[in-house]
Amino acid sequence: MSVQAKESPFMNVAQIQAGLAAKSFSAHEVAAATLARIAAIDPSIHAFLEVTEQLAFEQAARIDAAIACGRLDECGPLAGAPMAFKDNMNQKGTHTTCSSRMLENYLSPYDATCVAKAIAAGAIPMGKLNMDEFAFGSSTETSCFGPTRNPWDLGRVPGGSSGGSAAAVAAGMVPLALGSDTGGSIRQPGSFCGVVAVKPSYGVVSRYGVVAFGSSLDQVGPFARSVEDAARALNAISGHDPLDCTSQHVTTDFTANLSEGVKGTRIGIVPAFMGAQGLESEVREKVEEAALLLEAAGAHIVEVDLPHAAAAMSAYYVLGPCEAFSNLARFDSVRYGYCDPGHKDLGTQYEASRAQGFGPEARRRIMLGSYLLSAGVYDTYYYPAQQVRTLITQDYTQAFRNVDCILTPVAPRTAFKFGEISDPTSMYLSDMFTISINIAGNGGMSLPVGSGVQTGLPVGVQLIAPQFKDENMLRVAAALEAVLGKAAVAPAFAEGDAL
């Protein structure tokens, strides 16, 4: 393996493709270097649940064959870029466990659309990534296979639920990963691990084949170490899918306006968020710094009001569990999944299999949803929650009449230690700044802006876009990145040789 190939895990997509074009290394060598890197590093991080060596080499062989014919440019925008997928995404021939005992042995018979599109765009599939069980959590601690560790501090969580995706990119194992976000599950781990993490507007990316948590809230998005790589990945996976009737006809080139800068753009700040209880000062300072940098680059900073955003958390913990209760009903031990054998009747088999197959947080949300939808309770919770949803959506519509993008914190604090937050409702507060965006269906992303002064851990700022104007936030992010530099591989894993 060439020296350059060994460096490929640290490269961005354009650098890899330049190396392939110059024949400095082959796609096979990129795949091999990535596999070696994962083998060397992942035991200390535990981002991967499954490494798909054979699938990686098969895809690399296809790309190398195209390069041999001089057709690298026909391989797609992600050609040769290693990518890994959150383990709630079906990929044929892999296990799709959702980090749950319930699906420990479940083999996917089909590809999720986002996975199929990424592979069609030339990405080399490296494996499946750890997550909170069924995406219920903000720390990846609810994974039944054990937590993922934050590459910046192995004693801390990577965030969640897409903790494996964020950690794999932050540790320099892969340049790209996909995650899913229902209330903050892409952005919060992006902030904790210091990588670019994008949750597009609801409908930009097909949900087909992604195991559903909250169908009206879930959205797939990319993790990367640069805004450009994230935008490239989003180009590859976005667009209408005939198999998901909530997906939209999006044809935007998200890389097109990255270099345009922010001169003249109007960026909103939400005073209520900046003064929110529980927001650590080191995080607030970073958001304020980002605002100053943007202003210096020519943007206008404008205060905007989201009067109903405070109710987002309450609405979310009604709507999310209701949809999850119904979505998870199919895991009943009959056709697939964990089955506790030996029961004489269906009812007790259901009860025992689901009691043992699901972890405590999954059981909590299922029971909560079951209660909230039951007769007599529905009108008290579900219906008002939908009304709140309408109000929050109107808030964002109103706010975006005056601004092109909104700047807020991602999470109230930096990565916490394992076991530090054990109370579920405290854990839920991790998503206090991100949830309203899922409720409204807007796009939101986390951009790393350096380390907090107290903890020295990565801090991300959240950029929020109008619905289906996701290019707005990517452009602002690129302008900040141009000043602050691209996201770094976590220091402990960035020194010296990539292996």
Partner: protein, 549 residues
């Protein structure tokens, strides 16, 4: 237990129906691209969506939406422009997702009705109505609450128990081929009062669905299923009694008999001071009784909520109008046209349209009678799927009264009486499976009308046509059945008979008029049974002259 007629004197039955129809004429399932096919090998028409695999999502079948809008328009429903799919959550292995996708408070079709013409024996069950009404018939206005769209479950096969029932079974096998089949469920208001009305409603709805071409409506194969809700109250009372839900009424007869039994059973329980439990009961046609399936102590909580994977479904005015244009001529309209164009009685017209293929056959025969080419109608199945102009609207001006119209009544009789009797006698035979064609039916009716054959002979010829694949004229000729209608030949025969029977002629002229029949008989004998009786009568009368008073 008392008889239904007796029970209904004291009690009023309140009946509502829930009728499921599988949209069997569609190519694919409700929310995925799997093929719809009855009787395929188990689990061969399945995919991640209908198997409820993790991550799969539904996509609604637009053709199914068109079918339900057709059904709604044909049953006088309001079409809701904005309706939603809902999830009905319950766990059972035949429903792979453990929720059924159905509709919420607003269905695609709301607030419809059908009017039933109830007469003959069917009207006799309404003993609360005046006798004159019972004899003359009445119209029952039956409200339709809604028609909503939903998906069918898979099929469970319980093994090891008796008769495939779950009781005593050692294990169960599941076939998901049916899972996700588009279903439309029609719910009536509790407006039905007798088992006959329920049966007529079901028959009428079946005729409509068949005319629309949206389902094969096979009660035997379960593509048309009916549950009945029935309760009793004392005559004159307004309060509703406790209802039971009746299942397994998989034929019109079972629907009638099951409801009739249940009404009598409830009356007996109530009359003995018992109480009716809200429960689901199973009609056992062989034992002729209903049995408890399960008791509903509380209403099931299905935790219905809007299906987040499917956006609210908006129907545009253009879409609704485009569907309305596809509406075929419906049975009631067809019957009306048969009355006005061909002078049929309402009874004949109504019975003629009961069977769509018979009505179409009649139309073709009448087109021939009017000198039109039956080909113009051929292949027009008169279903929405064909998209043809409704019969009788385009190109069919009301028939000129006269020759053609005079054939309508005998043609209708032939189809309603003789044909129906023949088909009934040959268990499930279809008109299309016989050798009867519109042209042959018309020929047969003409042969009788012109007196070429007697009505008795016509029956023989009809039976032969059905089975021998030959034209009526050929059968008549082969069997030497043609009536002698040659005036000269008949006159000669009459002269001969009168000459040979002087005494009888004298007696007749002397006032013994009963002898007329004797002369007719002799004349028939003289023409070897083939003389035209009508002509013989006339000529005899003329030649004999007036008997003295």
């Amino acid at each position: 237990m008392r008889m239904l007629q007796e029970v209904l004197k004291d009690w009023e039955a309140v009946i509502g129906l829930e009728i499921h129809a599988e949209l069997t004429t569609l190519e694919t399932k409700m929310f995925c691209g799997c093929k719809l096919e009855f009787g395929a090998s188990p689990n061969t028409h399945t995919c991640p969506v209908c198997l409820g695999l993790p991550g799969a999502l539904p996509v609604p079948n637009r053709a199914a939406i068109e079918s339900i809008v057709l059904a709604g328009l044909a049953t006088n429903c309001d079409i809701e422009k904005r309706s939603m799919f809902y999830r009905k959550n319950y766990m059972y292995p035949d429903m792979s997702k453990n929720f059924q996708t159905t509709q919420g408070p607003i269905a695609f079709c709301m607030r419809g009705h059908l009017d039933l013409a109830v007469d003959g024996a069917a009207a006799k069950e309404r003993i609360d109505l005046p006798e004159a009404v019972q004899d003359g018939g009445y119209t029952a206005h039956i409200g339709i609450t809604r028609i909503h769209m939903e998906e069918d479950a898979g099929k469970m096969n319980h093994v090891g128990g008796s008769e495939g029932r779950i009781a005593g079974a050692t294990h169960s096998m599941i076939d998901y081929n049916r899972c996700g089949t588009p279903l439309i469920e029609l719910v009536t208001e509790p407006d039905l009062r007798t088992p006959e009305e329920a049966r007529l409603f079901m028959q009428k709805l079946r005729q409509i669905y068949l005319a629309l071409g949206i389902s094969d409506c096979s009660m035997e194969e379960g593509s048309l299923r009916c549950d009945g809700n029935v309760s009793l109250r004392r005559r004159g009372e307004k309060r509703m009694g406790t209802k039971t839900e009746l299942k397994n009424m998989n034929s019109f007869k079972n629907l009638h008999d099951g409801l009739a039994f249940e009404i009598c059973r409830q009356a007996e329980v109530l009359e003995e001071g018992g109480i009716i439990y809200q429960e689901t009961r199973h009609w056992d046609p062989s034992a002729k009784r209903t049995l408890v399936m399960r008791v509903k102590e509380t209403a099931d909580d299905y935790r219905l909520f809007p299906e987040p994977d499917l956006a609210p479904y908006d129907l545009t005015d253009e879409f609704i109008e485009s569907v309305r244009k596809k509406l075929p001529e419906l049975p009631d309209e067809k019957a009306g046209r048969f009355e006005s164009s061909f002078g049929l009685s309402s009874y004949d017209a109504r019975h003629l349209v009961e069977n769509g293929s018979v009505a179409e056959f009649f139309d073709k025969a009448m087109a021939l009678a009017e000198g039109g080419a039956p080909d113009a109608l051929a292949g027009e199945g008169a279903t929405a799927a064909g998209g043809a102009e409704p019969l009788g609207v385009a190109g069919h001006a009301p028939a000129a009264p006269g020759a053609a119209a005079s054939l309508a009544k005998p043609l209708a009789n032939l189809l309603i009486n003789d044909l129906t009797a023949y088909l009934n006698a040959h268990d499930g035979l279809e008109l299309a499976q016989t050798f009867l064609t519109p042209a042959r039916a018309l020929d047969l009716v003409r042969l009788t009308d012109t007196g070429a054959i007697s009505s008795k002979q016509a029956k023989e010829v009809f039976a032969a046509v059905l089975e021998e694949d030959r034209d009526p004229a050929a059968i008549v000729a082969q069997r030497g059945m043609e009536q002698v209608s040659d005036l000269g030949a008949i006159e000669a025969a009459v002269d001969r008979v009168l000459a040979e029977n002087h005494d009888e002629v004298a007696l007749y002229l002397g006032g013994k008029v009963q002898l007329f029949g004797f002369f007719v008989g002799q004349c028939m004998k003289a023409t070897a049974g083939q003389g035209n009786p009508k002509m013989i009568n006339e000529i005899l009368k003329k030649k004999l002259g007036q008997p003295s008073a």
